[in-house]
Symmetry: C2
Subunit: 650 residues, 2 copies
């Protein structure tokens, strides 16, 4: 039996079989829909209003009785049972483009010193070639090879079949008007990541001289957002960048949700197309803005976590999720752009930075590379808090890493009023110690829509320091303020009244459930620090430098992060923000062959500590489920502050 | 304007735009049609009868007035101008399958001694692998590599992306029931033709032990026919073979016609699909007969002339035809079966044997390899008469080659009653010296349909020796026999009366025009012998051995070939037939790495003499346009025979 579903406000109608999940019908209608948990009914983000018609609800645990009464349903947990009219609330529309001013404004330079000029990965050679004659009837390809050897000493050039098919015609198209000589630019890939001594490979041949610039891209494939840097290998210069939220977000907000989505029929291929689609959109944007032909982009390096790289290459990620958590591969394998559908030179090599294991991927080795910690004597802690929290401890002699399943709470998922760090997000909060009234700052200076990660850290710290909540995360309902109340979802603190918000009909709140999720997230990360330092017999306080990478790290307030016990309590000058270390690492490895070797070496030598198999982690995690921590001695500055405020934690 | 064309006797109807060539309409109808000259209107083989409706004829030089009157038209030179009814004569139907008894009956062995066991191109390794655990969480691919290194000493294995995508699942599918260990067969390509030291490449991975046999194929891509040998690399044994006429024949009978066809929009891709289609059909036949799964065929070597290899790889062959005759490439480049659409293991390497130039290709180096002439001290002449005549002179020290555009006369084209060596072909003729009446032998012992190459050599020799024609190829019309007459196409000799033939309505004749074409063909080949020997200062009579390769050579009568001056006049014991040396060479190079090196060396060291630029060739060709030759001293045995018969040539 078929049923017709009309979607408002867009007005589109689709026909589906009865029994079809409403979420599938929405995808069929081409409407964007967030499925942060991959359609498992856990996150409650795919809320829609069934305005009329019969549906069957499989689960609604994420909905309040009021919402159920208002006709709300979780699209992924609801099946179509007849003709329907469904309203998709605008706040669930998918965010696609990151504010371009953030990306375009920065001009990164190589973070690590290296001799990138010594041997670029791709080189262009301009050739003037005498055309063949009866007395010199060498084949086209041998003639090209002969001239490359004679004019530039480049020998044993190899070529793929699709490239070879263009050789004869291109050479003849390149005939100079006067001299009749052939004048072409040969683009050669000089060795591969796997095999530096691999013979030079002809990846493009074009009439005329095009040696002035040699374009290439560095890509960060994050779980949440993708970034592309356009680089000129000939000058070593950064040219431009573009960033966007990953189109994969519609299939799950964290890697586990994506892995579950990949298990569906055609799911893996769909995810692969989505990530490549996002990259291609960014490439289009860069091409338009810089007036370039994308077929002139001759190399790509890609950094991403192990799951995202599996999805990018359409490798089965299923075993990453299951004990003992085994990826198919963590070291790059030779892949051509055409194999993946990336719209650059089809022969361009696409090299993924090597990872360490299932949960410490190429984004982290990229971070270690671009942070320079692999060459320092100082005992350094590197942390990348994104959708996951990955931590690396070490220096030029040794490196040890772990991953904490912090969950995406700091990215806005699993928190009722959570959202990403974009326009409308509360990014900083101050609470008055006397009145418990908050003041906040919103990205874009507009009425608030929700709270982003840095806002949540700031809010938690303020609530704790002012005594709005206790060290266990319970709200102090004895305080005389209307901000603390028991709402539909239990006790909560009101950050913004409905009238102040952009929607004007719902208060922005932080519930005790949200607080508990956030404390678990910060506890996991701190437990990671503890286990990692303990495992090598070091005290966390001995760490000389803390480097914070990842998009998240850029905006957090260290003072507040220490107050809630997310970061270790040490002098602020030991902390350093590095920005998007993943794309910076990809950029570094793209430009410099030595750095390619370094990051391979980093991946090889880094020890990986699997926390899920470690009892010490569970102990440390439990100890960290308090604010700032059970071990108050480890947080002297926070203790002093509380003492000053008369908020001695009991 | 659209028009409907009904084809008889098949009864199919197609709709085409007016102005469409009738040949295109026939192709659209899916009916087979020979276009031996590639649709240039030169060969006259695409004759059809326009039974009703309007057409426009662009040319009809190949049709007699009688044929025109009967409604005959050349399909390639006729355009549809309205609704038509067209009859396709059955004799023009395309021959597809070679009589399988010829191919299946032979069990070839390696023609040249070599140590094929020392290092096969593809090797299979059976592995028992401990599955991963939390304490041994190496990635799947690294685990596989580790075990290959540990159990077999095979290191640095590489893999393509499509292969990598199958690794995780295959390993887990291979779990043994009792031990729970993974048990798989890894199929590795050990180096490439281009780079023997290339790292081993994983081309297949299968649960269980499959090391008992390692299948591979050797392929001959002839202009006229294709042959596939199925080989077991593990035992070095020939398994089976299959042969068929090339489906490309419908697009042109010789290489020049194919090159012209390739210039058409989509022509090159169409030709590529046709040759791959023929090979795939032969593979199907072999798979069925031997109960094998074609995905277990792990390597292919291919021999063919330079144009056929260009068409096989879809490389533009256009510049091979134009002075100075430049191929894109003559040395193999790495190609995977999937890239070409050959239905074997998609990762199997398909290696084309190296050629020397535009008109001396890999079929000839294969011939030199399989003939063993590259290791002999004897001065040897190798000749492969197929659609072209290629000649190699030399020994273990040096090799020189040339190609004579003999044309396809000996293959039946350009000769009115000519046909290929298949059932119904007159393959041998004897003429009575007194009555000038012929006796003949027909392949398959059926009423004759035409004359094949060996039949024409035999017929020419008998006509010459008995005085039916003179040394210039003119018929002696003074002889008292009804066999010699002036027909529609000029003077002709009747080999079989219509009543004896299979069609029962047309005499089988040899016209003076046919004779002239045949004399030009034999003259070109003999001129090649002369120029080649002269160019190195050797007398043709000094040649110690004459090796005859190619499908054609197998059936000719040396005595008769000498009588018409096609072969040099020397003792018969110096001649040796080698059969299809092209596929034998491919077989040799497939099985033995040393031989792969040898044939590369052969291609590198062989000198190529371009005859089109050589005045000596024109001189020698002119001298050879007589029977047996202007230089009668070079044919003492023929002269003695003529003297005995009282047929001293004037």
């Amino acid at each position: 039996m078929m049923a017709r579903v009309l979607f408002r406000p867009e007005g589109k109608t689709v026909e589906v079989a009865t029994g079809t999940p409403l979420s599938d019908a929405i995808v069929q209608a081409g409407s964007g829909l967030n499925l942060p948990c991959g359609g498992q009914g856990r996150c409650g983000r795919c809320r829609v209003v069934v305005e009329s018609g019969p549906v069957e609800r499989r689960g609604s645990s994420r909905l309040s009785p009021l919402e159920l009464e208002q006709g709300y349903a979780l699209a992924c947990q609801t099946t179509v049972q007849g003709d329907l009219q469904v309203f998709i609330p605008p706040q669930e529309a998918i965010l696609r483009h990151l504010p371009s001013e953030k990306a375009a404004g920065e001009v990164p330079t190589l973070p690590v010193e290296c001799d990138w000029r010594s041997s670029p990965i791709v080189q262009q050679f301009f050739l003037t070639i005498e055309p063949p004659s009866l007395s010199d009837n060498t084949t086209d390809f041998e003639r090209l090879k002969r001239e490359l050897a004679k004019q530039y000493g480049v020998k044993d050039v190899v070529v793929s079949l699709p490239m070879m098919r263009r050789v004869a015609r291109t050479l003849r198209q390149s005939e100079a008007q006067l001299s009749k000589a052939w004048e072409v630019t040969a683009v050669l890939e000089m060795g591969t990541w796997e095999d530096e001594d691999a013979p030079p490979r002809l990846i493009d041949l074009r009439p005329g001289d095009h040696t002035a610039r040699t374009l290439a891209i560095a890509v960060d494939i994050g779980t949440t957002s993708n970034v592309v840097y356009l680089i000129d290998l000939a000058s070593g210069q950064f040219v431009d960048s573009a960033a966007a939220y990953s189109a994969q977000i519609s299939c799950g907000e964290d890697v586990i949700a994506r892995i579950l989505y990949a298990r569906k029929e055609g799911g893996l291929e769909h995810l692969q197309r989505l990530v490549v689609g996002t990259i291609n959109e960014l490439l289009q944007e860069l091409a338009k803005r810089n007036g370039i032909d994308l077929s002139e982009v001759y190399a790509a390096t890609v950094a991403g976590n192990t799951t995202m790289i599996h999805l990018f290459l359409a490798l089965d990620p299923g075993y990453i999720r299951l004990e003992p958590y085994i990826p198919t591969v963590t070291f790059p394998l030779p892949v051509r752009a055409a194999e993946l559908g990336i719209h650059i030179c089809p022969e361009a090599s696409v090299d993924c930075l090597p990872g360490v294991g299932a949960y410490v991927g190429g984004d982290i080795t990229a971070g270690v590379l671009s942070s320079g910690m692999f060459k320092t004597d100082k005992l350094t802690l590197f942390i990348d808090v994104g959708t996951n929290g990955e931590i690396v401890l070490g220096n030029s002699d040794w490196l040890i890493s772990c991953a904490c399943s912090a969950g995406p709470a700091f990215e806005g998922a699993g928190v009722r009023s959570g959202m990403r760090a974009t326009v409308g997000a509360i990014e900083e909060v101050w609470i008055s110690a006397g009145t418990y009234e908050p003041t906040y700052h919103v990205i874009g200076d507009v009425p608030p829509r929700g709270i982003c990660g840095s806002g949540m850290i700031s809010l938690l710290a303020e609530m704790f320091i002012t005594g709005v909540m206790d060290k266990s995360g319970h709200l102090n309902r004895a305080l005389n303020t209307p901000r603390i109340r028991v709402g539909e979802h239990g006790p909560e603190y009101v950050v913004a009244w409905a009238a102040e918000t952009s929607s004007r009909d719902e208060d922005i709140v932080l519930t005790e459930v949200d607080i508990s999720n956030l404390i678990r997230a910060k506890g996991a990360i701190y437990a990671g620090f503890s286990v990692l330092t303990n495992s090598v017999g070091i005290d966390l306080a001995d760490v000389e430098e803390v480097l914070i990478g990842g998009g998240f790290g850029k905006y957090i307030d260290i003072e507040k992060a220490i107050q809630i016990g997310l970061m270790p309590d040490m002098p602020w000058e030991r902390f350093r923000y590095l920005g998007n270390t993943s794309v910076l690492g990809a950029f570094t490895a793209l430009l410099c062959r030595d750095m390619r070797r370094e990051v391979t070496e980093i991946a090889r030598k880094m020890t990986y500590l699997e926390l899920s198999a470690d009892n010490r982690f569970m102990e440390q995690f439990t100890s960290a489920l308090f604010l700032p921590h059970t071990d108050t001695a480890a947080f002297p500055s926070v203790m002093r502050l509380l003492a000053r405020r008369g908020q001695e934690p009991s």
